[in-house]
């Protein structure tokens, strides 16, 4: 076997916690290159197509922004949950509910006019997501049900609810029987930043969320309580922090943010309700949080990288004829490598001490 072993560090290495994502990205790129080679593609051309070509013009960057906004919003909400060690896998369902709830209001207000329509729609979207998060909080605090499993179940329920809606009551009567709603009115559409691009004001929602939550976690007692709860439940109890209230807070906040992301998506780039309003943003956001080291700045960069994987998957499909599931593959690889490299934060690799020759001649001078 290799002559190396793991040795626990006396305290965590801060340097490694920054380097680990870098290593993970490098390893992913190398693996990706190898994968492309086995598929008969030129690895460098394929990697270029996937990671670089989407960003070669301004339009590409705005498209990145279109995806960064929902990813960042969801990820900031998830960051709060994960900091508290509440494993909320339900951002996807909260996103969908946000789109569904806000979309429903938008459809009801189809003939309404006025600047109040959009804020109302957005509010209902965030509220719907918040209520979906509240359901999880209730199940956990009142009934003790494990949130990983309940949120995943709620994701499937949310998706089926959306499908029910677009196949049934919310279906566009003039839509040739496709499972989609009518297009929302102009008053229920997010304003774009410029007529040439799809990038809309949701990017500002995202940046605002980043700023607020950053301040919350670093400067307030509430943020400190959330961090302690996540690190060490006993210590939080000992200190008198109210565990239940904190759980409710992070789940409601995340639900609202994911809901806002959902309603922004349907009133922005999608413009209606259909079965595909989320290409898995809620799940990708989980990876964003880990890759971004649960830190607001890291999360913004990680969002950009994950957004890139979506665009890269589309590019690879168009230019190289590769299946779109390449996106999920790269995302999964990234997380795997990150978790592996994270080991180096608490452990270091050392050479195994040379086989101890238990010799019969012990040096009396050393006794």
């Amino acid at each position: 076997m290799l002559n190396i072993t793991l040795e626990k560090r006396p305290s965590d290495s801060k340097v490694m916690s920054y380097l680990s994502p870098v290593f993970a990205i490098l390893l992913t790129l190398i693996s990706g290159g190898l994968l492309f080679t086995t598929l008969g593609q030129d690895p460098f051309h394929a990697l270029y197509t996937f990671f670089i070509s989407p960003l070669t013009d301004v339009y590409g960057w705005t498209e990145l922004g279109v995806k960064v906004a929902p990813l960042t919003l969801c990820a900031m909400g998830l960051m709060l949950c994960f900091k508290a060690r509440i494993w909320n896998i339900g951002a996807e369902g909260q996103f969908i509910l946000g789109g569904l709830g806000g979309g429903y209001i938008a459809l009801e207000l189809m003939d309404a006019e006025g600047f109040w329509v959009l804020p109302l729609v957005l509010f209902f979207g965030a509220l719907s997501g918040l209520l979906w998060g509240a359901l999880t909080a209730l199940l956990k605090t009142r009934f003790g049900a494990n949130e990983i499993l309940t949120t995943i179940m709620l994701n499937y329920i949310a998706l089926n609810w959306l499908l029910y809606g677009v196949h049934g009551p919310l279906k566009d009567p003039d839509g040739f029987n496709f499972p989609e709603s009518a297009l929302f009115s102009d008053f229920a559409t997010l304003p774009v930043l410029s007529d040439d691009y799809r990038l809309n004001i949701s990017i500002f929602f995202a940046l605002f969320a980043v700023a607020v939550i950053w301040a919350l976690m670093s400067k307030t007692l509430l943020g400190f309580q959330i961090a302690v709860l996540g690190e060490d439940k006993s210590a939080a109890r000992f200190a008198g922090f109210k565990e239940e209230r904190l759980i409710w807070f992070v789940l409601l906040a995340c639900g609202a943010l994911a809901g806002l992301a959902g309603v922004s998506e349907v009133t922005g780039s999608v413009g209606q309700l259909n079965p595909y309003i989320s290409p898995g943003y809620g799940y990708a956001a989980i990876i964003v949080v880990f890759l971004g080291r649960m830190h607001p700045v890291g999360i913004v960069f990680a969002s950009m990288l994950l957004a890139l994987t979506y665009m890269g998957g589309e590019m690879a499909q168009m230019d190289l004829g590769l299946p779109k599931s390449l996106t999920g593959l790269f995302q999964g690889m990234l997380l795997f490598y990150l978790l592996a490299c994270d080991l180096l934060i608490s452990y270091r690799i050392v050479r195994k001490p040379a086989a101890r020759t238990i010799s019969s001649s012990s040096n009396p001078a050393q006794a």
């Binding site: 499993l149 999964g332 452990y347």
Partner: protein
Amino acid sequence: MDFELFTNILFATLRTGTPLILIALGEMVCEKSGVLNLGQEGMVLMGAALGFIAAVVTGHAGLGIIAAILAGMMMSVLFAFLSVTLVSNQVATGLALTIFGTGLSGFLGAGYVGMAIDGIAPFPIPFLSDIPVIGKVLFSHDPLVYFSWFMFALIFWCFRSTRLGLTIRAVGENPEAANAIGIPVMKVRYGAIMFGGAMAGLAGAYLSLVYTPMWSEGMSAGRGWIALALVVFASWKAERILLGAYLFGAASIMHLVLQGLGFEASPNLLAMLPYGATIIVLVIIASDAAKAKLSTPLALGRPYRPQV
């Protein structure tokens, strides 16, 4: 509701419950050794995809089963390496496995979507399958259903009366103590995890080679997650897994039942049933806190590495 429909519903329940039994039994063994593997969906889908591909390429469904088991085991080894050898966060690693497995299976299976194969035929047991009602419901299934019962019996016996079962429980309760008395904790955990992977892969093969002989992305539809809930519901007891799996199986085929009773309902609303049922079950189990504490493997989910 006529008698034939009732028989058919029971028959279908057993079929639908079978993949859940396989996944849940596998994960139960894994969790009894103290490891929480949330990557079931990924392993099941890999089993389904590779099993289907192998069956198409070689023309033998049997080879597909073997390929599926190996696929599940490979994925689980990846998980074991990260969570046992590299002591990573088990929740995150399991999620990574799910996302990776989902992506990889979709990627590899892309060229096989829409293909049809013969699948594995049912094997009615001679004589027994001629018994009215019971014969159809219990003895006219495909071999994997019978196999699931066999595995249940095997695992039940293992944890009741064997040293191996005792060893696994010890590792799952107190890995430090197990290490101190000389039990090879890492080896035991690797074994338990790989067993779980094999079972998940097999369940995937069941889906793509027997249940609906075809491949499509994400075809497990959350069964891996339901199986995880099942293990909790069963308080880590094999006999309860059997019961729970069939209950969920029944919930999944509600549309048949309602049809029989003459009701019409939206397929999407009905599709919510198994997931809703899972939530209810989780709530019921969690509410008996004291009992839950005694049956959960004490070291579940806690990363451990022996200090030399």
